[in-house]
Each structure stands twice: as structure tokens, then as C-alpha cells.
Amino acid sequence: MNKIYFSIVFILFAIYLVAGCTEVPEPQTPSYETTLDASEDRNSAFKEFFPIHYQTYLQNEDDSQMTEYGGSVPHEKHLCGDLPKAYKYCQPYLKNLWLGYPFSFEYNRARGHTYAVHDVLDIDRINRYSEQAGLPSTCWNCKSNKVPGYAEKYGDDFWAMEFHQFREEHDMDDHTIGCNLCHEPESMDLRITSVPLRDAFEKIGIDLENATRNEMRSYVCAQCHVEYYFQDAKFGAPAKPVFPWTQGFNPPETYEYYKSFGSTTREGFEGWFIDWTHPVSDTPMIKAQHPEFEMWQDGTHGAAGVSCADCHMPYVRLDGKKKISSHRWTSPLKHIEQSCLQCHSDKQPDYLKERVIYSQERTWEQLMRAQELSVKAHEAVRLASEYPGVRNADYDQLMIQARERIRKGQWYWDWVSAENSAGFHNPAKAIDTLASSQQYSQQAVNLAMKATNYGIAPDLEGNIYEVVPPIEEHSRKLQMSQEHLDTHQWFQYLPKFEEADLVWDLNKRVSN
């Protein structure tokens, strides 16, 4: 009996000694081995291996919660009013400012990754009334798990292929942004599947093979949350996505970048890249798209090495014990405790939220002013180009300069507008960019006035919302109606579309 007692005590003591000698490992990520194929692109295939990660991924389906300036309800960004269709923080001039470009048909607040394929199939920007989408297959690039496979199968021919061709191949749940875009299916190591990000990093000398874990925790997001453009055929594979980073990440540098890489022969803009020509002011425009990575990288958090995942994929303990990275990508204001307090442990959640809103409120205010001035600039150039009175001797040059300022002013505000943090990712840069935008748009107004010897000045006086009313309704369907086109003075510069029925409803063909 005594022997048994002694043995038990001894064993317990031995365990205790061993426990007490444990060396704490370096932050090594756990390694995995799945039986999945390297080319696996179905989200559901990963579910059995990683059920709790998958559970947090499915939380992306919640599209009901807003924060103050962000959130997940996919309301129309230009509509002012009540959720779910509109919101109190709206940008009423978006349709005016993007007139003649697909963004004027539909542009909504982003929601969870689980909706990406559904939403790209549903959006009115892509022409569902025709066998021709009007936009290339590149539009699948940041939506679909099948893109790495397509890129391998078709190579650079993929980009310019017909978008509609791939609709039916897509399952809206299984192929929406998911596991394989950021993970090696076999080992689950972080990986970069994005063709344009690999290209862009190679050009600017960022070596992905030697990227640290901390860097990868942002690079996986930089695959998509960046500004991009589709390559002009003159410079390589047509419609291939390119990130315009060789001169730098910021509005001034990317604006300079876009003075190349186009094929226009238009006077004053020879060789410049053009996304579309604004029909009202006849200005060659560039469109900014969600430059989260560029905004973040030299902001207070980004410059300090705090990654996207630090705030957007905080560690959670679903079973109350082991940590996993939350795969619910949404506003961290919905989970300040997990996201912010792992560093700012001395602060209260309400205080942190107020600090976020402090930046966002000011950014929003200046964004509104910048967009109003941008509308005024388009209107000034429109009036100047139709001005019947005596023109300035230098009229043509002044008009070129005015349009260049419109382009620049709009590029700057769009860069902030399209970015999804309402300034928080980089408060100083957001405000600086909007202040610059306002200056450039005002210069455009001044130049247009000078070109007409200030003859148009009286027409620009007063409240801009009365001079140029915001366009509330516009879509591909509406542009088929003359009645609709008669409702706003700026619509007179749009062609009437031919009547047509829907060909596509999501991934189903509805008519021939």
C-alpha cells in the first residue's frame, strides 16, 4: 500500500518537475496537413478539417449591423435615408460624378466575403441585358476562388475573356472569396494567389518568398483591397489587372503614374491612362478603387507594423480555450474587446470608438465638401465648353488645364471615398488628400471661368445642390428610357440605351 502511495506521489512530482521545465516556444504557427488537393477551390471542402474556423467564416453572412460610418448593410452609397437601402452618411453626388461610367448604375456598401460572388453576379455595373458584359473577366479576379485555376488554365488570355462565360460555373457559396485564396490547401500556410499582387511586388522589389509572418498578415488582404486598373493592350495582356505602385502608393504618385500607360491621342493628355471620359465635362477620368492597403501602409498603425489581421482577424477562443484567428472580416468596431484591447488594454471600448469617430467625422465632412467642389468643377467646364460669349484668347489651353484639374481633384477625393475606413486607417493622409482635392477642383472652376472671361461665373453662384441636383436614380434599365433621361440636365450627355430584357439573373440565364 505504502509503495503505491509512494509511487503516485513520485509520479506526480515528476510530472510537476517536467511541467515546470517547459520551454516556451517562439511564436511558431501550428502546422497542418490536410488530404485536400493543391487545386481545391471549394470552400465546403475545408469545412471538415477546420470546423471552428469555418464557423467564424460563416459569420460573414451577417449583413445587418452598421457601425457609425461603416458596417455591413449593403445600402446604396449615394442614397440618403434609412437602411437597408439608404443611410444617414451618404454621398449624394456619386452618380453625378461617375456619370457615363458603370459605377453610376450601382455602387453599394461592401459586405462579407461570403457574398462576393453573389454581389458581382447581381451588380448592375456588369451588363446583364446583353451577351456582352461590357467588362472583362478580370472582374472575377477578386471575387472568386476559381481565379487561381483560371489563371493557370488560360494564362494571360483569361483577363479579356467574356465575363458572362464564367457565370454558370460559379456556386455562390462554394466559390466566393474563401480558404484557397489565402491558404495552401495542403498545409494551410499563408499564400498569395493574386497575379497582380505578385507582379506589383516584383516590380517594386518586395520579395514575397521571404515575407515575414507579420507582413503576410497584411499581404493576403493586399491581394484585393487595393487600387488597380486594367491594362491597355498597348502595354501587354489586354485587361490584365495591374496595381499602379511603381512610383509610390499615394494619390500624388499614382496620379503621376497614370500620366502613362494609356493610348489616348487627345491633346494635352497624350498617352495618359483613362478609365472613362466624363460626358458632362468631357474630362478624361481615372477611377479609384478601395485603396485600403495603400492608405494603411504608412498610417499610424501600418507604419508601426500593425497588420490588417491584427484588427480584422483577432484571436478568439470559441471553445473558451485555444485561440484561433477569427475569419469574420468586418468592422472591428463590432468587436473592440478582441481587436483593439489586445494592445490598448488600458482603454475602455467606448473611448476607443470615440477616437475612431473623431477621425471619421472630420474626414466625412471634408469628403462632402470635396465632392461638392468636384461637381462644381464639372459644371463649370460644361458651361465653359458651351459658352456663347467672348472667350479668352488662351481658351483651348485653359480648358485643357481645367479638365486636368477636374481629373486630379476627383482622383484625390475618390481615393478617400473608395477607401473603406472613412479616414481611420490613416487620418492625416485622408484629410490632406481631401484638402488637396478641394484645391484642384477649385482651380478647375477658376480656369474655366477665366476661359470665358468670367462669363459663366453667375451660373455657378449659389447652392451647388440647386445648381446641379444630385442624381438619385440611375441604372442600365433606366438609361433605356427617354423619360428618365429627361429628368436631369446632365443626362442629356448620355446616349439612350436600346430596350433590352435581362439575359442573366445571378448565375442563371433567363432569356436568349
Binding site: V24, T212, S307, K322, I324, S345, D346
Partner: protein
């Protein structure tokens, strides 16, 4: 009579030896359970130990900061904290982000001033805790997450 005295001397010696052994054992145990090697035997504490090892305080035991210094308060604090941590680790649930309790914050702060009295002798410290200025001392908490944490811990 003589024989009896001999027996009692042996008994006293034996008791003394046992006493010394027990005291040494208790001392050893107390010391061992103050140290990062012991605290870090729970995965939940990996981050704390990892950041401790990188810090200027890496040569100190965890409990030179985390328990009171005087013997009696130390014993009671250790017993209570140890039992609570064991409960949380086994039957309870652990928060997503682990924070120090108010009592731990006070204990830690007292230990700051215990060792660094001379430095602050001639100044008035106005913030509630030393770490309100010396912000990296609480486990390098402003380092990017990748330098502190990994999954599964």
C-alpha cells in the same frame, strides 16, 4: 533510562531532519512556482512568458512583479491566484483577451516602486500606475500581434 534518552535523541534528530527537508522543499517549491518556466507550462501563458523573455525584466521571476513581496500576503495571494487560474484553465472559460485584474495591477505597481524607489525618490508620480508611462513593460503590448501570439495557445 539511558536507552530511553538515546531513542528520544534519535527521534528529535529525525524530526529536525524532516523539518529541514520540508522547509527546504517548501522553499524550493515556492521559488519554482514563481518562475516563468512554471508559469509558462500552461499554453495560455505562452504570450506572457514569451514577451517576458524579450524584455529587460527577463532575469526576474514572474512573481517578483505578480505577487506581493512580504511572505504572508504572498502566500495567500499565490494560493488564491493559483486556484483561480487552475479553475479557469480546467472547468472555466478563458476570455478572448486576458487582462490583469485590479488587484494584480496594484500588486505589480507596488513591486515597481519596491525595486525602483531610488529612481523616483525626488519626483512626484502623478499617474495611477507606473506603466501608464512605461507602457511597454506590461508584456510589450504594443508590438504587432504576430510577434506575440500564434493560434492554438
Amino acid at each position: 533510562m539511558k536507552r530511553k534518552e538515546g531513542i528520544s535523541l534519535t527521534a528529535v534528530l529525525a524530526i529536525l531532519l524532516v523539518g529541514v527537508a520540508l522547509t527546504a522543499g517548501a522553499g524550493f517549491t515556492m521559488k519554482a512556482t514563481d518562475q516563468a518556466e512554471f508559469c509558462g507550462s500552461c499554453h495560455l501563458m505562452y504570450e506572457a512568458v514569451r514577451t517576458h523573455q524579450q524584455s529587460v525584466h527577463s532575469q526576474l521571476d514572474c512573481n517578483e512583479c505578480h505577487t506581493p513581496d512580504p511572505f504572508i500576503p504572498k502566500m495567500t495571494f499565490k494560493t488564491y491566484a493559483g486556484m483561480k487560474d487552475m479553475y479557469k484553465n480546467t472547468l472555466g472559460n478563458v476570455y478572448d483577451v486576458i487582462h490583469a485584474t485590479d488587484s494584480t495591477k496594484e500588486v505589480v505597481n507596488d513591486n515597481c516602486t519596491r525595486c525602483h524607489t531610488m529612481t523616483t525618490l525626488n519626483v512626484e508620480t502623478v499617474k495611477p500606475h507606473c506603466t501608464d508611462c512605461h507602457r511597454q513593460v506590461p508584456h510589450l503590448r504594443t508590438l504587432p500581434i504576430a510577434q506575440r501570439r500564434v493560434a492554438d495557445e
